[in-house]
Symmetry: C2
Subunit: 237 residues, 2 copies
């Protein structure tokens, strides 16, 4: 039980907004912890939960995608998931639930808008960890989180660029940065038809923005381009 | 139920070797799938399970580390986990259970030793996913996997280098490659004491081998060096 009844009430109201029905199953101490930033308390904050939460959100996204789109190729699952669990998307979801109102942050940190997105994404992951650890499964998470993921996944999949990501990525970098993506591709084995035979990285302005594997050089580069394109195009929206 | 009694028997024997007690809880179709390489069947193989399994193993490792070493700093959790879930370690664990004997692979792929480690690691992740999906929790996984992680974590933590990873990494690259690690460090915000204020990458021979965050430039670079050092030094053993 948390010491302050008002905090307890606030946390209940957040959890209800998320759409979690079984309030009795929740470990409220963990939920409290999940919404304390390190600048508010150096000893008692969400950092450990966030460490668990990044795996929880990846697992939840994987299960959602397998169920919702059983026909997709594995490369597409990976690219879609990397967008769904990106800081940008998680911050957006957290923001839509008004996480800002529940997160305890030092005033000095609040005045730093650059950190806002990462605080929102991190505390969102921590909340997912608190819910996961309450029951040791995803039963408090999947129903409402799937609803958040669904329209985002539809939007990404509806994108006509996804048929040819190398071309889409090149258009994007030429339009935005007057540069071309650079591919670094290696052959890791010599087995015909092995989907891991080629490994590609795509570099843009000195940063590796995507990685991919494939049966051919071209397939690996398409997979890398897909990841980079989805990350970049989501950052814009 | 799987069509071939002999395969069923083999899978049961593997699961018993792992140390899973509740055989009745296992979805044997998934377990079968987890041990089929894409070169054996392009339609029915472990690729989708592997996609789920990489999140399952991260989650299992996170829970193990939090329970076994509650006193560690978050940066240390992250570095330790990145070693525990690395392909190299997962392949080693899979190998110790004789996964090679159970994995269905085309002869052409078997003759490619370069792919062996990644096949072992990937099928290990797929088996974890099959066990996770059988019960929708980690109850068939944690007990025996924790026992695998424990001595590995002890070994990593006993390493005297971990007090100063920048120095340890420099020694390593000078000794092995006659090069120096290169740090690329950015200030992402200006909040005093924010553990994400600085983000560092460490580059060795054109590859980014570690990333880290910290309250100071030095702390972020130590965290990045730690990740790279642990990865490189594990590759040696």
């Amino acid at each position: 039980m948390i010491a302050y009844p008002r905090r307890q009430q606030e946390l209940r109201s957040l959890v209800q907004r998320l759409g979690v029905a079984q309030l009795d199953a929740i470990n409220w101490n963990l939920m409290d912890l999940a919404l304390i930033h390190v600048t508010f308390s150096a000893e008692r904050n969400y950092e450990q939960l966030e460490f668990v939460g990044d795996a929880v959100v990846k697992l939840a996204a994987a299960e959602f995608l397998l169920k919702a789109y059983p026909q997709l190729k594995v490369g597409e699952f990976t690219a879609l998931r990397s967008v769904l669990v990106s800081d940008r998307i998680l911050a957006k979801i957290a923001d839509s639930f008004g996480f800002d109102r529940y997160l305890l942050v030092a005033a000095s940190a609040k005045s730093d808008p650059a950190g806002r997105d990462s605080r929102l994404a991190d505390s969102f992951e921590a909340v997912l960890a608190a819910l996961y650890l309450s029951t040791q499964d995803l039963s408090l998470i999947r129903s409402w989180l799937d609803e958040q993921f669904q329209p985002l996944a539809e939007e990404i999949l509806a994108d006509p660029a996804r048929q040819n990501y190398k071309a889409a990525l090149q258009n994007w970098t030429q339009g935005h940065q007057k540069t071309l993506p650079e591919y670094r591709t290696q052959e890791t084995g010599n087995t015909h038809n092995d989907p891991h035979r080629f490994v590609a990285e795509v570099w843009i302005q000195g940063r590796c923005l995507g990685q991919g594997m494939g049966r051919s050089r071209k397939a690996a580069e398409q997979a890398a381009a897909q990841e980079a394109f989805l990350v970049l195009s989501r950052q814009e929206s």
